[in-house]
Amino acid sequence: MLIQSFKTMLMASAVIAFISTVAQAGTLENLERERAQTVNYFLDSNLQPNERHARIEVSKRRLIDMERMVLRDNSLRGKTTPIVRRAFLNYDVTFMAHSATEKNLTMLDNWLDQFSVNTDSLMSAKIGRR
């Protein structure tokens, strides 16, 4: 009886130890990679408008999932590494797919807006030599 209960206790401890080691790894890193790729599509002058639009749409679907994974990742809570610190400093830049959909803007417009670049500022800009 004692041995049996000891075995049960060991098993319970092992299960709890397993639970404590389960942690989502690299959700933020994956998001950063996908975000970098999306920004590449924004800026790639070799892409035709249709092709760019199609690629960005695919990226957006992937970004929505990845952003949710990051927001739900408890292992990031309170982490003070530079990548986590920077990621949560500006929601609109890091979670660009959610932010854009929330504001009913395209991702490109929303992203440029974060750096104060919008249609009006572009239209009023003059080409010149610095």
Partner: protein
């Protein structure tokens, strides 16, 4: 000429033994160190696993771990031996009450020796209990530190947590709108992650509900049935261990007084033995020169 007899020529062997052994007993009582260095130990570690254990289960788990350790086994054996020694003392006390003469003297000596052994055992047992409680207290303090470190992961953590909470709050507030906007403007079906996530969330909610109602997961109750947090529960365990250590210190004072009484009883017993022997002795009680003057007055 009257020969002064040597002390041991007419001495009863029992009394002789008392005269020599009892002072030794007294000396040993006074010189015995308070606790012998113990070779046994119990070394629980403040691991992540232990910190995560349900508070109600933590104490049982630790008690079980202690019972399996060499320190736990030594304490258990020591308590059994003390219980047996207590019975021996009770038997001897009864025997002394119903005996007389030399047998009574012999039994009183035996009783003193057994009391001394009992005190040794109690001292050793208290040392083991102290070791157990101090280890437990240190463990709980380590666990508290562990918990504090988890709550505060470093400088700037508060700012990060505040930003994370704001982000999560914004995400949850706009979650449904984002889904509606995105999927109404897009021909793409919901992603596999989103579908699986919704399905899993339902399962998780059922499991969480069962966990919340599980009796071992129930929060420990403090005074007036107020639920305690994990940190409060650990603080309570630390103060309980400290209180028990204080009680042991008080018990050690009691054992000190008992040892002093045994020493005084032993000296009293030695004194009684010598008095009885001297009463039977042929040796003249008074050896003052004036009483022997008559020997010198006539030639």
């Amino acid at each position: 000429m009257t020969r002064i007899p040597r002390f041991n020529q007419h001495c009863d062997p029992g009394v002789l033994r008392l005269a020599f052994v009892t002072p030794l007993l007294v000396a040993s009582l006074l010189l015995t160190p308070p606790a012998m260095a113990s070779q046994v130990n119990w070394s629980p570690q403040s691991s992540e696993r232990l910190v995560k254990l349900p508070t109600n289960y933590l104490k049982k788990s630790l008690d079980n771990d202690f019972a399996q350790s060499s320190l736990g086994e030594a304490l258990s054996t020591s308590e059994e031996n003390i219980s047996l020694k207590g019975s021996t003392l009770a038997d001897l006390q009864q025997a002394i009450a119903s005996s007389t003469g030399d047998v009574r003297l012999e039994l009183r000596h035996e009783f003193l020796a057994e009391k001394r052994a009992y005190l040794d055992m109690m001292t050793e047992r208290n040392a083991l209990r102290r070791q157990h409680l101090e280890t437990k207290r240190n463990l709980f303090e380590d666990m508290l530190d562990h918990l504090s470190q988890q709550e505060n992961t470093g400088p700037g953590a508060e700012e990060v947590i505040a930003n994370q909470e704001a982000a999560l709050e914004r995400f949850e507030r706009t979650y449904a709108d984002v889904d509606r906007n995105f999927f109404s403007n897009s021909m793409a079906p919901e992603s596999r992650y989103a579908q699986q996530f919704t399905k899993n969330m339902q399962a998780i909610e059922q499991l969480v509900a069962r966990i919340e109602n599980h009796k071992l997961n129930a929060s420990s109750m403090g005074e007036e049935e107020i639920p305690m947090t994990r940190k409060e529960h650990l603080r309570r365990l630390v103060s309980d261990a400290q209180a028990e250590i204080s009680i042991i210190e008080q018990e050690e004072t009691i054992l000190g007084y008992m040892a002093k009484l045994v020493a005084l009883d032993a000296m009293d017993l030695a004194d009684d033995g010598l008095d009885a022997e001297l009463a039977d002795s042929d040796v003249t009680r008074s050896l003052q020169p004036a009483t022997s003057v008559s020997y010198f007055l006539n030639n």
